[in-house]
Each structure stands twice: as structure tokens, then as C-alpha cells.
Symmetry: C2
Subunit: 197 residues, 2 copies
DNA sequence: AAACTGATTGACAACTCACTCAGTTTCTGA
DNA sequence: TCAGAAACTGAGTGAGTTGTCAATCAGTTT
């Protein structure tokens, strides 16, 4: 493994565990077994390191998600696959997902590149959920009135589930399965409409 | 307003906007219009400031949530009230909620007081959701198999919705209403069971 | 008036941080 | 074999960090 890869690996581990600001470049260098200066030969600055981690992980996430969706045919099974994929990806790339979830955009610095990257990623995921919902409407496996709204709700649910799984604040092992069952009921065709008791 | 309150107010604003580590004590002092040393007269250290913000906000959240629930009678309207309360509270205490959402526990430092506080808070919220689900089962407004699991799912959904509203990553104004409709369908009694297409 | 109180100040110590750079080692291909 | 390029080193720099502390000050009590 090259030095650059070693640096990325160490940075990923440390950023995931302690956070970006709480991790020093000296710490990364020591963990990677390289001199401090080597970091700045391979990366413009500290932000450059996390930028590379972000874009690599984001690309991998989207690519794998698309593959998983393509393997399913009906709308409801695609939604199920999307939710289940999230848990699998979070397990296999726990550090990257932790870094993503740690990131919280500064509401005034909206032009920050990482903020834009995450926003774009989320928009694309929502787009994929929407397409799956449309598929479900067409094949009759899903009933849904407002596609964009429902997709955003499902995306929020996925985000929340991932957060709870990562922080282990909730002691619910089958959270993902519960979410799938929840979505299946909410999207089931033939179900009665919203009652207003 | 006393100096201590001014410090808390400034710290709340800055922590919400930039994050804890990215905000210096000098910055807080300047914003609050007090000398740097005054911070450490009123608080043991920098963490002491955020600790006070955390516990005050957490207490206010729980207290208000309980009041809101108590005002509703049926199970499903209580669930609806819980979801809607979250949006109202987030709007009225946007900075505090932002600080909460920014916080991400270090997976190795599990005994961190803030980590414990958040975990306890979440456990209590889930407990309130569970009780509302039970009420719904009893009065027939809700159908639900696994109460704890469903409560955790709803809690995750609320967390995700709050996050999306705060980061405005999703451009869906009616996210909360969408979530309520989604939950109403998922919890509706008489709906058919999960299909396995 | 003298003594005491808690609040406030700002200079300061001790330290950490990201980043630089002059110099060294390693690689590469002709 | 060797010159030039690329990779690497680690001491050094200056800015910034949290937290300390002796001194001051406005009130209040004795």
C-alpha cells in the first residue's frame, strides 16, 4: 500500500472516531507511519484529505446503490432493497458513513464544497427513491399520492435509521427490518386513506 | 440580562452555527461583550458551557413534549402531535436543536456525559412514543405488531426529518406533514399485512 | 471608615495547531 | 551509470488555543 493510501486510511479511522477538528495532522501522520510533511506533499491541506474521503465514499455509495436497485424489478422490492442496502453499506463502510453523519453544514457557509457534495448526493438518492416509487405505481406494488414528498420522507427515515445504528443510542437490533415493514404498510396499495380522528 | 446569560446566548449561537470545536472561547467572550476570563469564572471550562446548554434544552424539550402529548387523547393523534411538536420545537429553538444534531458521540468514549444525556433523552422519547402506540392499540386507532421496534422506527424518522429541515438539504416544505401521512398509513388498523412480492 | 464580598478584567503561561521548506533519499528511464 | 524527477523528511514558524491568576472594582456589611 502506498503512502497516500496509508494516510487516507488513518485519516478515515481517526476522523470517524474523533471527528475532523479533533484530529490533528500530526496524529494522522504518526498513525500512518509517515513524516508529518508527507501529508502536505500528497494533499494541499488538511481539508484536502477529508475531501478525498468524501468524494470516494460518495461515489462508491451511489454506484453500489444503483446496482442493488437494478437487480430488483418491482417498485416495493426496490424500496426494500434501498433500505436494506443502507444497512449493509453502513456495516461494510462504517468509518466512511460515520464521517458523513458527523458532517453538519454551516448554515452561513453554503458554498462549502463538502456541503454541496452531500446535498448533491442526497438529491440523487431521493431521485432514485422517486423512480422506485414510480415503478411501484406502474406495477401496482405501491400506492402513493405525492411521490417527491414520500421519497423525501423515506430518505429521512433511512438517514435516521443509519444514525441510530451508528450511535447505538437505541437498543433495537432489527431497526432496519422494522423500517422495511413500516414502509411496506405505508406504501401498501388498497390500504384505507388517512383517517382524521 | 446577566453576564452568564449573555455568555450562554452567544455560545449557543456560535456552537449552532460553527460547531463546538470550531468556536474559540475568545470568540464567545467577544460576542458576549465580556472579558475572556469571565467565561472561566462562570464555567469550569469550555465544556461546561455546552453542558449547561445541553441540559437546559433537553429538559425543555422533554417537558414540552409531555405537555403536548397529554393534550391529545387517541393514540394516533398523540403520534401525530409528537411529530408535529418536533417541527415546532425545532423552529422555536433552532440553535439548540442544531447543537444537538451536531453532536456525534465518540464510539470509544461511551462514558462522556453529553453522550449519556442524549442517550437518556432518546430513550425517554422512545418511551413516550411506545406509550402512545399502546394507547392507540387500546382505543383501536392504531394497528402495530412490535411496539418497541415501531417506536424506534418513528423516532428515527423524526430525527431524520429534523435533520433535513435543519440542513435544508431537501427542498420539501411539507416534510413533516408528509411524515405524518406516512405514519398514519403505516399504523392504520385494518390495512393488509406485509406482502412479499 | 474599615472590612468583606462576588464579579470582572486582561495579561500571561503553556501548549497545540496547520503548514512550510531546505535538504535528503528513492525511483526511473535513457 | 547517472542525471533529473519524484517522494519524503522533520525541525521550524507563527498564529491561535484553553485555562490561570493577581489585581481591580462596585456594592454591602460591620
Amino acid at each position: 500500500m502506498g503512502r497516500k493510501q496509508a494516510i487516507i486510511q488513518s485519516a478515515t479511522r481517526l476522523f470517524a472516531q474523533k471527528g475532523f477538528a479533533e484530529t490533528s495532522t500530526a496524529e494522522i501522520a504518526e498513525d500512518a507511519g509517515v513524516a508529518h510533511g508527507t501529508l502536505f506533499y500528497h494533499f494541499k491541506n488538511k481539508r484536502g484529505i477529508i475531501h478525498e474521503i468524501f468524494s470516494m465514499a460518495g461515489e462508491a455509495y451511489l454506484q453500489n446503490l444503483k446496482n442493488v436497485i437494478a437487480r430488483k424489478t418491482t417498485g416495493i422490492t426496490r424500496i426494500e432493497a434501498i433500505i436494506r442496502f443502507n444497512e449493509n453499506f453502513s456495516r461494510d463502510h462504517i468509518q466512511q458513513i460515520r464521517i458523513f453523519q458527523r458532517f453538519f453544514p454551516d448554515p452561513v457557509e453554503v458554498s462549502d464544497p463538502e456541503t454541496r457534495l452531500i446535498a448533491s448526493l442526497q438529491q440523487q438518492v431521493i431521485g432514485l427513491i422517486e423512480k422506485s416509487l414510480e415503478t411501484g405505481l406502474a406495477d401496482g406494488s405501491i400506492a402513493c399520492k405525492n411521490i417527491n414528498e414520500t421519497a423525501s420522507v423515506i430518505h429521512s427515515l433511512i438517514f435516521g435509521i443509519t444514525h441510530m445504528n451508528l450511535t447505538k443510542a437505541i437498543n433495537t437490533p432489527q431497526l432496519t427490518e422494522g423500517a422495511i415493514a413500516f414502509c411496506r404498510r405505508a406504501l401498501a396499495p388498497g390500504g384505507q386513506d388517512c383517517q382524521t380522528i
